[in-house]
């Protein structure tokens, strides 16, 4: 299967795109531009073939935040032009504008980063940061966390089963399950702490701290788009700045 062109871009190219959107949204005044960004992101998601996951995460993660922020701003932002009033609550024109501005920006910035992580494998992203000079220790922390979470879930299940065989009730009403939580959680946390020592020794036995420059089987390649796109971003941003402040 031929890999998608957008997915094949260097992780940093995609990351710079997210930063580019972030800055552009903050430079351009008004909410129309920021809201216009979202359909563009959806289009990119469609082209990259990640539409479904992208939209579902945006809905789950952003929608409630947006609604709450919008309502809060609409009612409580100070302003004189009252549009609607009921008791102590009033909606002002300023509040409405500011609420839209804020939500449009949150939507654009939040969505672009969600899109970034949908389109980029974390290990690729970490590798690209490592190439840029992130110490291997930091890269290890990020990558191992990703692998260890499912491992800990497995361990939690094992502990749960073990407690069950010892007669701890783990099923039933909410209260019963909450009670079972403590005998499960304590061994899980303690064993995780204990295993960090073993992990450190494992890494050491693989020469993790060897005083040489590491090599890597995992290599990232840059194509011409990866060289051109960052320049395009910068040019557009400079253009936006000039337009905003000098014209």
């Amino acid at each position: 299967m031929k890999q998608n062109f957008l997915l094949q871009l260097h992780p940093l190219t995609k990351f710079y795109f997210s930063l580019f959107i972030l800055v552009a949204v903050l430079i351009v005044p008004g909410y129309i531009f920021s809201f216009a960004v979202f359909p563009i992101l959806v289009l990119i998601a469609i082209l990259a073939g990640v539409t479904k996951e992208f939209l579902s995460i945006v809905l789950k993660a952003l929608l409630s935040v947006l609604v709450i922020v919008f309502i809060m701003q609409m009612f409580f932002y100070p302003g004189d032009e009252v549009l609607w009033k009921a008791g102590i609550f009033s909606i002002t024109q300023e509040g409405l504008d500011y609420g839209l501005l804020l939500t449009s920006r949150i939507l654009a910035i939040g969505a672009v980063f969600i899109l970034f992580f949908r389109m980029t494998e974390v290990r690729d992203f970490v590798k690209s940061l490592e190439d840029k000079g992130l110490p291997p220790m930091g890269a290890y922390v990020v990558l191992s966390t990703l692998q260890i979470i499912p491992e800990m879930r497995r361990q939690a299940n094992t502990i749960m089963e073990a407690q069950k065989t010892r007669g701890v009730e783990t099923e039933g009403s909410l209260f019963v399950r909450a009670k079972a939580f403590i005998p499960t959680l304590t061994p899980l946390i303690l064993s995780s702490i204990a295993s960090t020592e073993e992990r450190a020794i494992t890494l050491e036995s693989r020469a993790f701290s060897a005083p040489v420059k590491k090599t890597s089987l995992h290599q990232l390649t840059k194509n011409s788009a990866d060289r051109i796109l960052p320049i395009v971003y910068v040019v557009i941003l400079v253009g936006l700045l000039v337009w905003r402040f000098f014209l």
Binding site: S195, R206, A207, F208, S209
Partner: protein, 286 residues
């Protein structure tokens, strides 16, 4: 022969512990020798391995007396990072010996070489070779977290020998393996010996030790109570005192001797029994 590992009056106590785990241990091991450490649980075998690997005192603090010299250099003068290439250490517990950052066995085995800065082309060749040697080629695309105990044990061994260290410290490498798997591991260890590696092995399977190892170190409650060529140690009546298992054939022979059968020597390998009983003409069935 050059001395590869040399311990002089080594005693060690873990932090916040009152008792010494290692008590006044002295021995030296020549380059290219295969030595087995035996002893009952809690006798200090693993701590001794940690000392040879340099985790004591570089990782575990606590009180270390005496001198540990690896390849003519004092342990205190090494940095922990430098020892990775010199001493390979395969631990007892195969479930923790996973780097946790690699998605498949091939990359897992390659991890040590990446850390040593070996060029990518060479890494690929060396990993291929080791996967074949340890017979885990079929696992290459599996996630290391999803392997069985025995499979993990092989991956752990492969991950260390791929780094090609001069000294191999192997702590119970076959605890999770069936008899065939165990034989295969011992074959690999023998191959390492043929390549001139100095090998230290902790193991409870005496039959295999009798067959493969050169020297035997017997640990008892933190002390090194016996040492010498495998045959001499097993034949020494003192060995019985420490309640460590004999090779099966030796046990039988000693029983026979007690019952009055004359033996020309104490056999330690199965095929020697007939000869010890002076019946060389008798066919032996395995």
């Amino acid at each position: 022969m050059t001395i590869m590992i040399d311990l002089k009056n080594v005693s060690y106590r873990y932090p916040v512990s009152d008792d010494f785990v290692l008590k006044n241990i002295s021995f030296s091991i020549e380059k290219g020798k295969f030595s087995a450490i035996v002893g009952n649980n809690g006798s200090g075998k693993t701590t001794l391995c940690n000392t040879i690997r340099g985790f004591v005192p570089h990782f575990y603090k606590g009180d270390l007396d005496g001198e540990v010299i690896i390849d003519q250099t004092k342990m205190a003068d090494y940095q922990l990072g430098q020892l990775g290439e010199k001493v390979g250490y395969v631990f007892q517990n195969p479930f923790i010996q996973v780097s946790g950052v690699k998605d498949n066995v091939f990359e897992e085995v390659a991890y040590g070489l990446e850390n040593l800065g070996v060029p990518v082309e060479e890494i690929k060749i060396r990993v291929e070779e080791v996967l074949k040697l340890v017979k885990i080629e079929h696992l290459r695309d599996k996630n290391p977290f999803e392997l069985s105990g025995g499979q993990r044990q092989r991956v752990a061994l492969a991950s260390i020998i791929v780094m090609d260290p001069e000294i191999l410290v192997i702590d119970e490498p076959t605890s999770q393996l069936d008899p065939i798997g165990t034989e295969q591991i011992f074959d690999i260890i023998r191959l390492m010996k043929e390549r001139g590696k100095t090998i230290i092995l902790v193991e409870h399977k005496m039959d295999l030790i009798a067959e493969y190892a050169d020297d035997l170190l017997v640990m008892h409650e933190g002390e090194l109570v016996m040492q010498g060529p495998v045959r001499e140690v097993f034949a020494d009546p003192e060995f019985e005192k420490y309640q460590i298992q004999y090779p099966h054939v030796t046990e039988i022979a000693l029983q026979l001797q007690k019952l009055g059968t004359a033996l020309s020597f104490i056999p330690i390998r199965d095929e020697e029994l007939a000869k010890a009983l002076n019946r060389t003409g008798v066919a032996i069935h395995d």
